[in-house]
């Protein structure tokens, strides 16, 4: 099969390119998951705590959506915490690992092709399938290493078979989404669009699985995420589900080969539209250009976050019904919630997730300032009469304004369905306000990015580490039992939890002040330094 000639050469090249990136993915995910799992024995010493936790999580649709089917939870005891660990960790692990799979293959497939480097290689003795096969194999290798690490890590506390069933099912779902990435990479001309297609596919399949779990129905079998969780770690493992995911991955890669056999190098399958021959008036201003460059991404984020919010809001009614059946058990888990209704407490808790996700948009948008500089586009603009300050302000302004839109869309989506669910239209506004109150927390992250950009542009990626920290703190921070001051570093922890809490302006003002200082540092730094093309 000459199509595969050169696969080994490609594999070595991609290994060389990813020699830092791949270990970072593997180490950070495995450390986070294992550290969280290690915390459970200290957290659930008594049977009562376990029962309350299970009743609460499995008793409301948000809980089920963000965890999983909960196989074996009925038998969970302080000596058999495996099912609890799996229930708690599998959804977030699947999200992290699916993204790892998609990003790792995209970079080496459509990314290389878009840059024109694939053409150079394919002009040599390299078969049509070689690059795709190598990228897929490497991502699969990363997934398997990570899966085995999780298995080994968990078996330190829990049963070996269950630990490895968990690790390998996580690896299998990663491999499926690496294959989804490989196929999407064949369809569009640009890697950003292909990444969007692949992550949207993941979001849809994750949601399908969540619906299946909430209804406890066959719907889970429509999604590979459902198959991965159906392996039932620590609860009479069904190893054959690994065969399902493996077969799907191979089928997807075969589809990718089918497309490759029929398309030109550099081209996609989905059509790209023809652009305008002239720049519109809005494009002539630097702010207009900054907006134009992220128009596609902003539209996708706005729509996506509206739907995300609407989905959460719409679960409220079903949740209330379940909670009524539950009785007092929730108090054990949640403690005193004061005057707020339980639904408000829940909603406030989930708004943090939405806000942190929206912060991802802001950082993606503001990182354009650095990529525009490194790619040399800024040079062309700054060589004219445009000043550095105004140029930078345009990109930062576009990111901040765009993010307000994204937050508002998320708030409106959540508020609308929430108000519908509780049949009280006046509740729309408090939810929207609660969402917008997260803006200053997002600004702190954006301002950090700008400060890095101005002072140490080559260390710009540090802002993503900060973002990763915020995600970890929001999702599993309390579980990890980290010192108080480290949790205080997370700006999102300081935003009042509306609508369960009252609006308090002081922390928002403090965060706005911190942002302002960081912005000034960034702008002064940028003004003083030369352009950096690293």
């Amino acid at each position: 099969m000459s199509g595969f000639t050169g696969t080994w050469t490609m594999t070595r090249l991609f290994l060389r390119r990813d020699r830092v990136r791949m270990p970072i993915w593997i180490v950070s995910i495995s450390v986070l998951v294992i550290a969280s799992v290690a915390a459970f024995p200290g957290l659930y010493v008594e049977q009562g705590a376990i029962d309350a936790r299970n009743a609460l999580i499995m008793g409301n649709p948000f809980g089920i959506a963000l965890t999983g089917p909960g196989h074996g939870l009925d038998e969970a005891t302080p000596d058999n915490l495996g099912p609890v660990a799996v229930n708690e960790m599998s959804a977030s692990t699947i999200i992290a690992m699916a993204f790892m799979g998609i990003f790792l293959v995209m970079r080496n497939t459509r990314g290389e092709e878009q840059e024109g480097r694939l053409e150079l290689l394919r002009a040599g003795i390299v078969g049509r399938y070689a690059a795709v096969t190598a990228a897929f194999l490497l991502a699969s290798l990363a997934a398997l290493v990570l899966g085995v690490l999780l298995g080994v890590g968990l078996s330190g506390w829990y049963d070996i078979a269950g630990s490895f069933a968990f690790g390998l099912s996580m690896a299998s779902v990663t491999i499926v989404f690496a294959a989804v990435g490989v196929l999407c990479a064949q369809l569009t001309e640009h890697s950003r669009a292909a990444t969007g297609l692949a992550t949207t596919t993941f979001a849809v399949l994750f949601t399908v699985r969540a619906i299946g779990d909430i209804r406890d129905s066959w719907v889970i079998w429509l999604s590979p995420v459902g198959w991965a969780q159906a392996i039932r770690p620590f609860a009479d493992e069904r190893w054959w589900t690994l065969g399902l995911t493996g077969a799907l991955a191979l089928a997807l890669v075969a589809c990718a080969f089918f497309v490759i056999e029929r398309r030109d190098v550099g081209a996609g399958v989905l059509p790209t539209r023809k652009g305008r021959p002239r720049a519109s008036a809005a494009l002539a201003s630097p702010l207009g250009l900054a907006f134009r460059l992220q128009r596609g991404a902003l539209t996708a984020w706005t729509v996506g976050m509206f739907v995300f919010g609407a989905t959460l809001g719409s679960l409220v009614l079903e949740g209330e019904r379940m909670l009524e059946a539950l009785g007092d058990a929730y108090a054990v888990y949640f403690g005193d919630v004061g005057d707020a209704t339980l639904m408000e407490t829940f909603l406030a808790g989930y708004l943090v997730f939405v806000a942190v996700t929206a912060a991802g948009h802001a950082l993606q948008a503001v990182s354009q300032i650095r990529s525009e500089e490194a790619s040399g586009h800024a040079e062309a603009q700054l060589a004219g009469s445009l000043g550095k300050g105004r140029w930078a302000a345009s990109h930062v302004g576009a990111a901040l304004l765009g993010n307000v839109l994204v937050l508002a869309a998320a708030g409106a989506g959540t508020g609308a369905t929430y108000a519908l669910a509780i049949e009280d239209a006046s509740q729309f506004w408090p939810v929207l306000l609660a969402m917008l109150a997260y803006a200053p927390a997002v600004w702190v992250l954006v301002a950090l990015a700008v400060a890095l950009f101005g002072v140490v542009p080559r260390a710009f990626a540090v802002v993503w580490a900060a973002f990763a920290w915020v995600v970890v703190a929001a999702m599993i921070g309390p579980l990890l039992g980290l010192p108080e001051w480290t949790m205080d570093l997370d700006p999102f922890a300081h935003v009042p939890r509306m609508p369960a809490e009252e609006l308090s302006v002081a922390p928002l003002l403090v965060m706005t002040g911190i942002s302002a200082v960081l912005f000034v540092v960034g702008f002064v730094g940028f003004r003083r330094r030369g352009l950096d093309f690293g």
Binding site: I125, R262, V265
Partner: protein
């Protein structure tokens, strides 16, 4: 002459609705340097990418070294080297690493030649690709492509961004390769380069070959420039057939004459008593301009340059 190394007949390629290649014919004989001339967006790169099996032709036939470029691409690439006109390198790898990576994917990579070419092109292989200028990135592609022992070289505007000194070095290297008996398809819009290197030339316009032949053959199609001083007035020259654009300056007469009327024109001048005569052969430039006069427009650049 034996079997052609490259043979295209009626090649058609669409990008969407744009007809980038419109029935292109091209034939390259073994051992020759074949110039492939055309303006931006005329379809040169598209043709070469089809020959490399990177693009699929929508019609017509292309043969490379007796094989099918799409189906036999991997086998064929063992015998082919490619230098693109625009090189994308891995920004965080060095030039030397990039050369080895590209070289590893080519047949018969010659270490000795790699070292020699680095020396001749004065390229520092230890620098990261992101620090290279356009010219230096191009040198990476040249060194990587020409270090192989391939029997056919596909060069797509290979010296874009090189300075004149490096251009001279490049021409030198290509002449050596020709002496070794290799075949070269040289796509270019630098006429001087093609004129210096090519045995035969194909001129392409809007995806079609409009002229093909040896430089000598093509020169017959165009005009020779003549500057002459005669004893008796040559005013009647203006009425002679095939004589164009006469100007007079300090008693000297400049004009162009069609190839087929050269003999009769010189005979006429001779009768007037020639005191001095300078004749310049037609340049490729004139050939080129004749085919790309102001009335022509290249194929939509975006479409064909992909």
């Amino acid at each position: 002459m034996s079997e052609p190394v490259v043979e295209c007949a009626g090649l058609v390629k669409y990008f969407g609705k744009v007809r980038a290649l419109d029935g292109l014919d091209l034939s390259v004989a073994p051992g020759e340097v074949h110039g492939f001339l055309g303006p931006n967006g005329s379809g040169k790169t598209t043709t070469i990418r089809i020959l490399l099996g990177l693009l699929r032709a929508d019609g017509g036939r292309a043969t490379l070294l007796g094989g099918d470029p799409w189906n036999d691409s991997v086998e064929l690439h063992r015998r082919v080297a490619y230098v693109p006109g625009e090189v994308a390198l891995w920004p965080n790898l060095t030039g030397g690493e990039a050369i080895d990576i590209i070289g590893r994917t080519q047949g018969a990579f010659d270490e000795k030649r790699r070292a020699e070419l680095l020396e001749r092109f004065n390229l520092d292989p230890a620098k990261k690709a992101r620090t290279y200028s356009k010219g230096n990135r191009q040198k990476v592609a040249i060194v990587a492509g020409l270090s192989s022992d391939a029997e056919l070289l596909l060069l797509d505007e290979p010296t874009s961004g090189l300075d004149p000194l490096m251009e001279a070095t490049f021409q030198h290297v290509i002449r050596e390769m020709k002496a070794e008996g290799r075949t070269v398809l040289l796509s270019s819009h630098i006429l001087a380069q093609v004129e210096a290197l090519a045995d035969r030339v194909t001129i392409i316009r809007q995806g079609k070959a409009v002229e093909s032949g040896s430089l000598d053959e093509l020169r017959h199609l165009t005009r020779t420039s003549i500057t002459v001083v005669t004893e008796r007035s040559a005013d009647a020259l203006a009425h002679k057939q095939g004589v164009h654009s006469i100007t007079r300056e300090n008693g000297r007469l400049h004009f162009d004459v069609d190839a087929e009327h050269l003999d009769s024109t010189i005979a006429y001048l001779s009768g007037l008593g020639i005191r001095s005569l300078i004749s310049r052969p037609p340049t490729l430039e004139q050939l080129f301009l004749r085919h790309y006069d102001a009335d022509t427009e290249g194929v939509d650049e975006q479409g064909a340059a992909r």
